[in-house]
Subunit: 214 residues, 2 copies
Amino acid sequence: MNHDYVLKQLSWRYAVKKFDPTKKISDKDWEILEESLRLSPSSYGLQPWKFIVVHNRDILKQLTSLSWGQSQIEDCSHYVVLTTKVKLDEELIDKHVNKTAEVRGLDPKLLAGFKKVMVGDLLNGPRSETIYHWAQRQAYIAMGFIMETAAMLHIDTCPMEGLDPKGYDKVLGLENSGYATVAGVACGYRHPEDKYQNIKKVRFDKDDVFTYIK
Amino acid sequence: MNHDYVLKQLSWRYAVKKFDPTKKISDKDWEILEESLRLSPSSYGLQPWKFIVVHNRDILKQLTSLSWGQSQIEDCSHYVVLTTKVKLDEELIDKHVNKTAEVRGLDPKLLAGFKKVMVGDLLNGPRSETIYHWAQRQAYIAMGFIMETAAMLHIDTCPMEGLDPKGYDKVLGLENSGYATVAGVACGYRHPEDKYQNIKKVRFDKDDVFTYIK
């Protein structure tokens, strides 16, 4: 692995304003991007999320109108909507415990302590009061993962936060699903005419955002 | 860039339970990890964060006791605490507008429209009601970026969410700073005896977390 390459790609990445609608992500590359979402870390490994990949032109059009008319949604190669559990419940915790037992060849009963900690912290503890925000934060880790993975593969993205989540839920049929829209990520390739690729990235200076306690 | 390498490292990564206290991240590598935080995307590019790197042994000890006694904090090579703005204000927006003008050689007055959109959305719009959570979510993108960047460089991490944020704020002198603790990330190298490196990663199946709208 070339260290300079990683740094170069982190700088190369920007929020694409205009995608090239003629360029499509290959199936092989898309599979890696999906895996980067699926393999993303989350608190307790609980994965309180579902990802919706929208290819339907009519649905994409409706989502555009629910996203300030931003062209990225229809022009990109793959548009993925990140959703999370609206209400965290024992069902998801049990599912995670059972999957853990299955993958690691254990009796789920051996994981009773693990379950108890999660229930105590997330369902009954102080964290339960803001659990919806907690779930959303986890999805932002996944958002970070797909954006950085894309950059490593020289694929462009644009995170989409400026959208009407309730409108998305309706269009995507999420009402009563237990999951709700958090944000979208448009993936594809920058249009040669997107002027934003040529202007300098704006970041605060290192000594402004970093403090060292020695 | 080797595509298989990216996928391999995403699988290689896990939340390290026991770091090797004798192994330190090189300055060159740490610089890339810092850059991955600094270059992380955030809504409007607003970077509502500060990162605190703690090397002081006494402070690390205190943070450990505020983090369920987890050994990663003291055994890792670099422990970084992610903090975000407690209350989003015009000061940060102005700072971002001015930095944008400086970096891109523009008159800040030309960015009045950009400022107006941010103020309208984040300070006065419906998003202002949950702006603290919004800021925290942005920090989770950065958390994703440092963890994936580390994995690409074959460096281990452990995200630390199980901690007492108010206790951290006190120990780190953040009270009245305008910033508050969100989470920590321990960075370093896995101990050969950390048994968690050998057990299978638990993730829901692809067709369980992905839906396609065709």
